[in-house]
Symmetry: C2
Subunit: 401 residues, 2 copies
């Protein structure tokens, strides 16, 4: 099951699927041949495995089989907040509550089938949870590298799948490079954020969106952007559907960052090809901690994706994120994590700027559930206590308000 | 959009879809006519709305459109723990993380289209969260009745959708009857656990399972049982598919209760038609708090479902539930709430008794995600801290173990 990996920038090929980066420095991805693909080639299956023909592995059993196949719904309640015709692609409805399962569902079974190494990852959030879940379900040991001082709630989320958890002291941002080095030297396969097999899994989100809209395409797809891995996968999907002749005009990719960690926005606004890394002193706190990457390893590829699709990159503040998170819940009925709420906040900004217009169809992709973060707010919830003997009287007053 | 409701026991019909219970005392459900139905009549859609032809309302937009369509996967990692061939129907992959969304997706839009009443529900858990989410997404006010002393985390989960939360003092178990009374006298439509429109939504879980297995059927479907609402919906689905001639032999329904609140198990073992209600003094604490109903309003219907399908009812202890929850995570990769883990614990007991055999296909239905309950454990998570400068050395030792 050895696969060929390719560089999007210089075109170099490698017959080594453990390789993550090209000699030119850019990340690799897996080339598939979609030239004869049409929607009729989809398997009659739920989940992302209906696109098995374009995936590097066959459908596994277990939790990997349950990844993807998330709902895409028209959500008119969010139109006002967004300033556009909103569709929600609810990636929270994955086995571990995040789009990461699409990547793990390909990367982990592939790693397990290819070698005997321990599986690993670098993440203190959704990717750690997802990788640990998929590894243990296949009986494979897993090591997760998290930053020193990770909260007990987050450790508990990861620990339920019983990986070895290593809290790493020192500059955590350097751990991506460390991980590639460790994978080469030790019997561990650290599946980083943009491991080529993960990117293959991510492209299925784009396939699902486009199949649902076919033969039309949405005007805009809005994603939170951190490492650039998900944006890369979505762009890979767009390219494959274009080569297959299934879509003509691609949807515009709009990436949203938090204003406290905005290396892609900085680069995009400066017209640069590569992200503008933040120095440790420049990184601020944000409630959108899932997307706080100061030096995204697939950042240049994500920027290329944006330019190739005539898209854009925008940053939003924590206040905008809070407002958007509330709107997702109250106007949409969706419980999303702050990083996911950026999509609505970002589209709202772009609508204000006239970059997106009210009649355009915009797919917001909340990438992870908010349920993993409940119970951490400081504000107490108002809830009157009433004895049931007087409930009817009191309710009469309440309802008359 | 007024619908006819019918009593499963005495056969009485009512042309009043706000009516929940028959004059004979039993709960009502909505009769549909499946006689000409076949799988070819399914809509080409995701989610539960592919069965629109058998549902009492047309597909709504928004979060209701995102309900159902959950994965059903073969999960061989769980075979040993279960003592059977395990399939997992992961109801956690619903918009609010629980099967309740199937019920709310029908009941709430139906209520909103039918009357101007405030929507309400009686629940301190998944049903409150789901009802509040679906109501607010349609711009309808919602009142949620929870027990006095509900935890702040649980209040926060509900409060994000901004319903009016009323903590009720006094005997909470009586609130089901109170709710029916309030719905009749005040401008509030309290959608209780077995409101007929909810039951219609629940039957889609059974349709999805059977369509996936078609033309075969699974040998056993294992559900947690509390109010009896979900079991009723699944049985309604079985009856409709039988009448349509789509299935011949029904799957055996196995209901699992917690040993601390087991009115259905007691009745089943005594050969009784009606549940054996627990007195307040008999109700013990359990970690499976989602299924602690001491006097299930659809209990008699659930017992009839079990007998009709040659199924069974079994109770499990908190220790068995804890073990099963861990197995779900570690052997399956699924994060389930304790109430959902009962399914695996129950099947394991039944396999020990010889009621289920190792070659039988058993569908476990974890009804809700465990992510809403993380961060409440007392045990600290073990996680060594290592500086990245010495990571390679330390990892070498770790991997050599």
């Amino acid at each position: 099951m050895s696969l060929s990996v390719k560089c999007y920038r210089c075109g170099e090929h490698y017959d080594d699927d453990a390789r993550v980066r090209c000699a030119c420095g850019e990340p690799l991805w897996i080339d598939s041949d979609p030239t004869t693909f049409s929607w009729d080639d989809c398997r009659d299956r739920g989940g992302m495995w209906r696109y098995e023909a374009l995936l590097p592995i066959d459908q596994p059993e277990g939790v990997a089989q349950a990844a993807g196949g998330t709902p895409l719904v028209r959500s008119p309640g969010l139109d006002d907040a967004a300033g556009a015709r909103v569709f929600v692609k609810d990636e929270a409805e994955n086995p571990t509550g995040a789009y990461k399962d699409r990547g793990s569902a390909v990367a982990v079974p592939h790693a397990v089938a290819t070698n005997d190494d321990v599986v690993g990852t670098v993440s203190y959030g959704n990717m750690a949870i997802s990788t640990a879940a998929h590894a243990t379900s296949l009986g494979r040991e897993c090591v997760v590298f998290v930053p020193e001082g990770t909260s007990s709630v987050r450790l508990e989320l990861i620990a339920q799948y019983e990986p070895t958890i290593v809290q790493v002291a020192g500059n955590y941002a350097k751990l991506y490079a460390d991980a590639l080095d460790l994978s080469e030297r030790l019997p561990i396969d650290v599946l980083v954020s943009d491991a080529p097999t993960r990117i293959s899994g991510y492209k299925t989100a784009l396939f699902e969106i486009c199949e649902e809209f076919a033969p039309a395409v949405p005007d805009v797809i809005a994603l939170p952007a951190s490492s650039g891995g998900f944006a890369s996968g979505v762009w890979l999907g767009i390219r494959e559907l274009e080569r297959a002749g299934v879509i003509e005009e691609p949807p515009r990719l709009c990436l949203v960052q938090t204003a406290t960690a905005d290396p892609l926005t900085r680069a995009f606004e400066a017209g640069a090809m590569d992200p503008t890394p933040l120095s440790p002193g420049e990184i601020g706190d944000t409630i959108a901690h899932s997307i706080g990457n100061p030096d995204p390893p697939s950042g240049a590829r994500a920027l290329t994706a944006v330019r190739d699709t005539n898209g854009t990159v925008v940053s939003v503040t924590d206040d905008e994120i809070r407002t958007a998170q509330r709107r997702f819940a109250v106007d949409g009925g969706f419980c999303v994590e702050p990083a996911s709420a950026t999509t609505l906040a970002g589209v709202s900004r772009l609508a204000d700027r006239g970059v997106i217009t009210a009649d355009e169809s915009v797919v917001l992709v909340p990438t992870g559930t908010g349920f993993k973060e409940i119970g951490t707010k400081e504000t107490a919830v108002a809830a009157e206590t009433i004895h049931r003997d007087v409930l009817r009287d009191r309710l009469e007053t309440l309802l008359a308000r």
